[in-house]
Symmetry: C2
Subunit: 293 residues, 2 copies
Amino acid sequence: MSPATTPTPAQAPTPAPAPTPARFSLNQETIRQWSLPELVTGCAEAGVGAVGLWRDPVRGFGVRETAKLVTDAGLRVSSLCRGGFFTAADPAGRAEALEDNRRAVEEAAELSAGTLVLVSGGLPPGDRDLVAARGRIADILGELAPWASAHGVRLGIEPLHPMFASDRCVVSTLGQALDIAEQFPADQVGVVADSYHLWWDERLPADLRRAGEGGRIVSVQVADWMTPLPEGVLLGRGQLGDGSIDLRGFRELADGAGYRGPVEVEIFHPGLWVRDGEEVLREVIERYRAHVE
Amino acid sequence: MSPATTPTPAQAPTPAPAPTPARFSLNQETIRQWSLPELVTGCAEAGVGAVGLWRDPVRGFGVRETAKLVTDAGLRVSSLCRGGFFTAADPAGRAEALEDNRRAVEEAAELSAGTLVLVSGGLPPGDRDLVAARGRIADILGELAPWASAHGVRLGIEPLHPMFASDRCVVSTLGQALDIAEQFPADQVGVVADSYHLWWDERLPADLRRAGEGGRIVSVQVADWMTPLPEGVLLGRGQLGDGSIDLRGFRELADGAGYRGPVEVEIFHPGLWVRDGEEVLREVIERYRAHVE
């Protein structure tokens, strides 16, 4: 036996890190301490394939510059947050909302974002008529949806938890979002299903099936539900696995309804924002594997 | 003309205060700074006909003593808050809940309370199965409802806002409450409709009709919805008229469904608790007239 064939001493191979799940997407607000270049570099190095972006930081960095940064890194933009706030009752407010949403559509088009997420808006000051406010959403979408379609952008109506019904979003359930979306062609307007907002609703399985059958699920987002809720309740979204939601069951319901797109982790939690971004991303991916994949 | 017939100088008659609305009931937590004697005296002097009581202060004062105090003042007890917390998954927790609820029934009977309000309970620690937790409510009611019926006490399942689904009440809509109540005779188990918890739900009109047709509405409560919500969200209930709820529309829906009972004002708000109780009661009654009656 020649020395060349002598086996090298036994040595445990360094285990290759498990690849980041293919459908995992990171919403940038989850690690808001990262600048856009840090986000793109951090995601590319971690093998993340898609990111969800927000208009404010994108405009701060430059829409075109962001698009180039993301494309050069081989990333996709799973969604742009957010348009909407359609519920103004006065003509000036309506015109302003329409104008702002046209800009949001153009930004989404420039980013080749899969979806422009729409948060409908709450009740105008002193207004107590939820039904009328919901009606105004469909009215304004009648103008916005063709505009978005012409720009190659699909709109996604996102129902928010009922605790936001007065001040952010009069659309509180997936069923209500579908009632509005279905007034438009499915390739123009769909719905966004976020575990945080919908987990409590016993109609969720049926509504997701309905959404899937109609080809209306344009985005799936996940965060966990934790209590006690903080003052203002906006920043109470929990790290995956820390709360009460059966996140895997939620993702399986969406998949069972035919959804095959990205699953975007969107957590607003100050506790994640004070930590090292790379460490947070590693943790989020681990939690995603353990609780969602 | 004799002096005796000389008219006295013109003097505007003191206007008699408008009578307190007949269906108005004051839940004692609205003015929690009042002791039970203060509550009973204050309500009797203001012409309030009914009060909603809570178990803790009642037991502190004595159940029998409270019953005598209330009866002697000519007041009725529109509801006793609260039983429930039925969602323990272990046999010991279940037995403890059943035992505590039997005591609550006895207390409600002693007070001749119209309804024992049941708050279902949230998810046990680490549990993520809302459907199973809801199932355990019906299971325990199978034992509690006949016990309550034998004591002449009617149970009222109160759905709480979905923001309480994990930690207080897995029953989030009137429809879910009815799904459970309808498994029992209508004279044993009904539902409690509270504007604060239900106002956002587009199915509320249909669910109230369903509840009314089945003779299931055992209590109606009102508070307004205000934002921003405080930390923990429990103490964010708003004074009537200060928030986003069409309270008159809510009361009219209940009336349209055949409800003729007391309308209980139940506001948990620290801002009301630091003020003079009589002043708060006057304000609550004025607001009730302006926004509910």
